[in-house]
């Protein structure tokens, strides 16, 4: 069962317990979702939408219907993680010089670190350093944290319990990704074994932290990247 189906089920079940009043007709729900999403610069989660709409509303249905309505228009309805947002169609970016925000130019180190977090998440600082072959400066991580493109994930259950980094919803939103599985070339990288955390030969299997990490890591990654 996909997330969407699950959500739909949940939402269908709500009226039975909660609604004293009829939910508004679906067309009206769609208007409401439209108004809320237009008003917000940030993606709005399905849960939030449901909370703001009258009880018994079928948010997912309204979203799907709204998304269809905006197909091919100047703005589009985009799914970002478990949230939704209206964004201008990317092909019209050329009209928007006025709106373009001057973004701080990211250093090569920051861009690489970001990519490593995105493709390898959850990933520890040591792993990032292992991949890049240099130590990661505090500033680089700080910059990405500040941009809200990465955040701390769960600690790794290995000696030292290092923190991990994962990408955020803001990251997905910024790069127009529905979720981390949609990262360009992710499948190919996996297939080529380039996302493996391969220990350097000569390190004793089962003894080093790296090895343990390997086990946990693959689990976590499965969670993230596999349906």
């Amino acid at each position: 069962m996909s997330d969407e189906q699950l959500e739909a089920t949940e939402l269908r079940q709500r009226p039975q317990k909660e609604s004293l009043f009829e939910a508004p007709p679906i067309a009206e729900q769609e208007r409401m979702v439209e108004a809320i999403l237009f008003a917000s610069a940030e993606p709005v989660t399905v849960k939030d939408l449901a909370a703001r709409l009258p009880h018994g509303s079928t948010v997912t249905q309204a979203l799907v219907s709204l998304q269809r309505r905006y197909e091919g228009r100047g703005v589009e309805l985009k799914k970002i993680g478990d949230a939704w947002a209206i964004r201008t169609a990317p092909d019209l970016g050329f009209l928007m010089q006025k709106e373009t925000v001057e973004t701080r130019k990211l250093s090569r180190a920051a861009i690489e670190t970001l990519a490593i977090v995105a493709y390898h998440q959850p990933v520890t600082r040591a792993e990032i350093e292992e991949i890049r072959g240099v130590s990661v400066s505090r500033g680089t991580v700080d910059q990405l944290l500040e941009l809200e493109w990465i955040r701390f994930g769960r600690r790794r259950m290995t000696p030292g319990r290092p923190v991990t980094f994962v990408v955020t919803q803001e990251f997905l939103d910024h790069f127009g990704l529905e979720n981390a599985r949609d990262l360009p070339g992710l499948k190919e990288l996996r297939a080529a074994g380039l996302l493996d955390n391969r220990p350097r030969p000569g390190t004793m299997p089962g003894v080093t932290a790296e090895d343990e990490e390997d086990v946990v890591d693959s689990d976590d990654q499965d969670d993230l990247f596999e349906d």
Binding site: G93, E112, L114, V134
Partner: protein
């Protein structure tokens, strides 16, 4: 193994110009790298650049050739008295070790990974770094928010109207007032007993008095001062005092008598007579 092939394909040129057997090309390459040593993000980055000069798929890269190029680079840097960061030197040492492993026939008594395994891992690291760089570029080439697509220009801030309603009931109010007004005179809750004389009070009063009355005295005379006027008070005093006399009679300390129904009840001390246990007392039927 690619490295062996490399050796066969590219035997060191005999130009005699170098003591380390490196080719002119390698030396030039090393010198070119020196110029830009600051441009590299560490030894792995430099190795990747060296690997790329081979113009082959990274998977087919000759690690040995690369190791030699790297070592030439470090040698050159030393000759030019360029300070190299420690990790460049660590990598150089490691590559020298790797090179010897790759060139020498494997020693079966030696433990640890083979040269090929080490080389394969280095190749993996390089390929992985290259892949991450490619994909970082792909990521940055995506449509980006604020550059290619845009958010709502006038987001309507969701006004969060937080209404706090304070509740207080009339009861709260009154109790609060009562609390303030009575806070220095708190006492256990009792019925208002202005007009109640308790048996305990009567008993206490009488115990102090009966010792002095050897003759028959009216019960009424034992009433506390001020308790014989008001009806309510008198009633209470009567009941309490009478009950107290019964108790005293039971204890054998007084005698009671009553001339007839509704006649005054009289009592007198039994003096220092033996105080017996309660159960030895006479039935006081006459008092009833």
């Amino acid at each position: 193994m690619a490295d062996q092939e490399f050796d066969l394909d590219h035997p060191p040129r005999d130009d005699g110009a170098t003591d380390s057997g490196q080719s002119v090309a390698e030396r030039l390459a090393a010198e070119a790298l020196i110029v830009d040593v600051d441009g590299f993000e560490g030894p792995l980055d430099l190795l990747l650049t060296l690997g790329r000069t081979q113009k082959v798929d990274l998977r087919k890269i000759s690690i040995l050739q690369m190791a030699e190029q790297y070592l030439a680079f470090v040698e050159r840097a030393k000759a030019l008295r360029i300070e190299l960061a420690a990790d460049y030197l660590v990598m150089a040492a490691w590559l020298a070790f790797l090179k010897s492993r790759l060139l020498l026939p494997p020693d079966p008594t030696e433990e640890g990974p083979s040269g090929e395994e080490l080389a394969a891992h280095l190749a993996f690291q390089l390929e992985r770094l290259a892949a991450m760089r490619d994909h970082a570029a792909k990521l940055m080439a995506r449509d980006q928010k604020g550059r290619d697509f845009f958010v709502r220009g006038v987001p309507e801030a969701m006004t969060r109207v937080r209404r706090v309603t304070y509740t207080a009931s009339l009861m709260d109010l009154m109790q609060a007032y009562a609390r303030i007004r009575t806070k220095d005179e708190f006492r256990p809750f009792v019925m208002d007993r202005d007009s109640v004389f308790t048996m305990e009070q009567a008993l206490e009063r009488m115990r102090g008095m009966i010792g002095f009355s050897g003759s028959w005295t009216d019960l009424v005379s034992y009433f506390p001062i001020g308790w014989d006027g008001d009806v309510m008070r008198k009633r209470s005093a009567t009941a309490a005092t009478f009950a107290a006399t019964l108790q005293l009679a039971k204890e054998g300390r007084v005698e009671l008598r009553q001339g007839g129904t509704f006649e005054p009840i009289q009592l007198r001390s039994r003096g220092p007579r033996t105080v017996a246990n309660g159960d030895t007392t006479d039935p006081q039927g006459d008092a009833e």
